[in-house]
C-alpha cells in the first residue's frame, strides 16, 4: 500500500509516466519536494487542481493523503 499519484493531461507528458507510487503520508510540501523542474512548476500553477479519491480539493495546499489514497493532479481542462 502506498499513495498513488495520477498525472492527467500534459502533466503525464511532463512526468513521463501516467502514475507513480509514493510512500504515505503525503502533504503539499511533501508533494512539492517530490516533483522537479517543469512538472513542479505546472503543479504549483493556480489553475492546476488536486483531487483525493475523486474529491477535488478547494485548497490544494491542504493536501493530506495516506497510504491507499489516489491523488490526481489535474491541469486546466480543455473541455469535451
Amino acid at each position: 500500500m502506498a499513495v498513488t499519484l495520477v498525472f492527467l493531461g500534459k502533466l503525464a507528458d511532463l512526468a513521463g509516466v501516467s502514475d507513480k507510487q509514493l510512500e504515505g503520508p503525503l502533504d503539499w510540501q511533501g508533494l512539492c519536494d517530490e516533483l522537479q523542474g517543469p512538472l513542479a512548476d505546472a503543479v504549483k500553477q493556480d489553475r492546476t487542481r488536486i483531487a483525493v479519491n475523486g474529491q477535488v480539493l478547494a485548497d490544494k495546499t491542504s493536501l493530506s493523503a495516506v497510504d491507499g489514497d489516489e491523488v490526481a493532479l489535474l491541469p486546466p481542462v480543455s473541455g469535451g
Binding site: V6, L8, G9, K10, D13, A51, N53, G54, V56, E70, A72, L74, P75, P76, V77, S78, G79, G80
Partner: protein, 149 residues
C-alpha cells in the same frame, strides 16, 4: 429514464441513441439534439480526449441532473467519446426531451457550454508536426458565463 449518461471509448452512431431516448419519453412535446464532430479544417489529423475515471463520468451525471432540474426536462441524454478520434467522428451527443421546445433547445445549449469548457477532459490535437495540448478558448468561457445565476 430521466438521465442517460455514457462515456464511450469507441466510435458511435448518434441515431442508435437518439431513437430509443425519444421513444422512452412518450408524451413529450419536443426533443433537441446536438451532435459535435471532429472538424475537418485547420490541418487537424486526429484528436485525443483523455478523461479521469473518478471525475469525468460523475461530473457529466451532475451536469445532466442540473439541466433536468433547471429546464424542467423529461429526460437528458449525454454520450461523450474519450480516446483518439478522426475527422468526421462524433465527439459528443446531447439530447433533451421536454414538454415545450424552448426548454429542450435551451437545455442543450446549456449542457454543451458546460461540456465544452467545464468538464473533466484534456484534449490534444495531432497536426503535421505532432501532438499539441489544447487549452479552452476564451469564447467557451464567455459562453459559460451566460448561465451564471
Amino acid at each position: 429514464m430521466a438521465r442517460d449518461v455514457r462515456l464511450l471509448t469507441q466510435p458511435f452512431n448518434p441515431g442508435q441513441f437518439v431513437g430509443p431516448f425519444t421513444n422512452a419519453h412518450p408524451g413529450l412535446g419536443g426533443v433537441c439534439t446536438f451532435v459535435g464532430e471532429v472538424r475537418g479544417d485547420s490541418g487537424v489529423e486526429a484528436l485525443e480526449l483523455l478523461h479521469y475515471e473518478r471525475l469525468t463520468l460523475p461530473g457529466m451525471e451532475k451536469l445532466a441532473d442540473s439541466a433536468i432540474e433547471r429546464f424542467d426536462l423529461m429526460g437528458m441524454l449525454i454520450v461523450h467519446r474519450s480516446g483518439v478520434m478522426h475527422v468526421g467522428e462524433p465527439i459528443v451527443l446531447v439530447s433533451a426531451a421536454a414538454k415545450h421546445r424552448r426548454e429542450a433547445i435551451e437545455a442543450v445549449d446549456f449542457a454543451m457550454d458546460h461540456l465544452k469548457s467545464d468538464s473533466w477532459f484534456w484534449k490534444r490535437e495531432k497536426r503535421a508536426d505532432g501532438w499539441h495540448w489544447i487549452e479552452p478558448r476564451e469564447q467557451d468561457h464567455d459562453d459559460l458565463a451566460r448561465w451564471a445565476q
